[in-house]
């Protein structure tokens, strides 16, 4: 009977294959393809026939300036609100205008989030913000309508800052629509984007005087993570109602099949 020893031949074959592959890789200088990472694009709109590409940095600069003017300083979590509003606008425009460049005066944004940084972001994009007269030729519409249907008429930074004390994850809802066609899309941020009791901690750190140093540090980590998510995650990871593009069912079925096969084999043998 021939005994199947783990022999020299198999090892030699592996060695030859390895050195052959190494030689090919070395000579051709082949490089692994870069992993595709999410890239935060720019909000592209037309203002009186001129195409504008609005970057998040441009929006941030405007928002910082206006908040500083009104309050003297900027709340530490401001960036997170700008990023969230900016991402929501990008998604809303791509869903409503489906790749077409919208005209500024055709854009209407209704936000449920009574907060100044996100409001200024939307105002900058729609051209309705303070001191924008020289920055735009035409403007769209921006409103803040609370969850209970109340229209917030006073959109001053100070007033919105006061209102933002009691916001929750449910308030992160924005309706972006085309004034001319009436088509609209509601962008809703997933609740699990925010850690448990994030807004309770925010109220304590930003508005209260009782937060400990540890709580302050925890809040900084948390809002930074959320901000990173708004700037780096795929749409389906942060917004409700979007399907993950990859065909995951095949992977799940394969995974379950492998687990079952192992269990059955273990039980049989």
């Amino acid at each position: 009977m021939k005994v199947g020893k783990i022999g020299i031949k198999a090892l030699v074959l592996v060695l030859i294959m390895f050195y052959a592959l190494a030689a090919i890789a070395w000579v051709t200088g082949v490089e692994a393809p870069e992993e595709e990472e999410f890239e935060l694009g720019e909000v592209t709109i037309e203002d009186n026939g001129t195409e504008l590409a609005i970057s998040i940095d441009e929006v941030s600069e405007y928002v910082t300036e206006k908040i500083e003017d009104a309050m003297g300083s900027v709340p530490e979590d401001m960036e997170m609100f700008v990023s969230g509003a900016y991402r929501a606008t990008l998604l809303g425009i791509s869903e409503v205008w489906e790749g077409e460049v919208p005209s500024r005066d055709d854009i209407k944004i209704v936000s449920s989030l009574p907060e100044p940084a996100s409001a200024l972001c939307f105002q900058y994009i729609t051209g309705t913000g303070p001191s924008m007269e020289n920055l735009r030729a035409e403007n769209g519409v921006f409103e803040i309508v609370l969850q209970d249907g109340t229209l917030v008429e006073n959109t001053s930074v100070q007033h919105l800052y006061e209102l933002s004390k009691n916001i929750t994850a449910d308030d992160w809802k924005f309706e972006i629509s085309s004034i001319s066609t009436g088509e609209s899309f509601v962008v809703e941020v997933k609740g699990d984007v925010f850690p448990e009791d994030f807004f309770g901690l925010r109220e304590k750190v930003v508005f209260g005087q009782t937060a400990s140093e540890k709580e302050g540090q925890e809040f900084t980590w948390e809002w930074s993570d959320i901000n990173d998510g708004f700037q780096g995650f795929e749409d389906y990871e942060i917004f409700e109602g979007l399907e993950e593009p990859a065909p995951d069912s095949a992977t799940i079925v394969a995974l379950i099949a492998v687990i079952l096969a192992i269990v059955i084999l273990a039980l049989i043998i």
Binding site: L15, F18, A22, I24, A25, V30, E31, A32, P33
Partner: protein, 142 residues
């Protein structure tokens, strides 16, 4: 007779080179010292590996001068086996890394090939040269 003299010289040189690379790996493996990389060669900063390659080189050299004697040949083979263990682990690790793409699927052809590209550890360069020992094993067995 001549081929054993040549063999002795060959394994003495191979042993010294192996020993030197082992020494370099030991030095780069010390805390605070970074690994070296020049062209296609990379000295991994790993003290454990370094000690093994250093001793492998020492054993190959020690056996090289008595290659006709089974004890000398055995000593060089013993050192070579240690070198093969390290190189074998490097090869196995590359094979394992070349298959998945890091996102749960199989690698692309470019990604697969790129895993086998430079830089290489000294053990991978030394392995093919150490296989010459099989020729002398056959000769002594005759």
């Amino acid at each position: 007779m001549m081929k054993f003299k040549l063999g002795s010289a060959y394994f003495a040189i191979l042993g010294v080179i192996t020993l030197a690379f082992g020494g370099l790996e030991v030095v780069t493996g010390l805390p605070g010292i970074e690994g070296l990389s020049t062209g296609a060669l990379e000295i991994p900063p790993d003290l454990w590996r370094g000690i093994i390659i250093f001793f492998a080189g020492a054993f190959i050299t020690a056996g090289a001068f008595k290659l006709r004697d089974i004890h000398g040949l055995g000593m060089s083979t013993f050192g070579s086996i240690m070198l093969w263990i390290i190189a074998g682990c490097d090869i196995f690790t590359r094979i394992m890394e070349s298959i998945p793409n890091g996102a749960g699927g199989l690698n692309s052809l470019e990604g697969f090939l790129a895993t086998y590209g430079p830089p290489y550890s000294p053990a991978l360069f030394l392995l093919p040269f150490s296989l010459v020992i099989f020729y002398f094993i056959k000769e002594v067995e005759k």
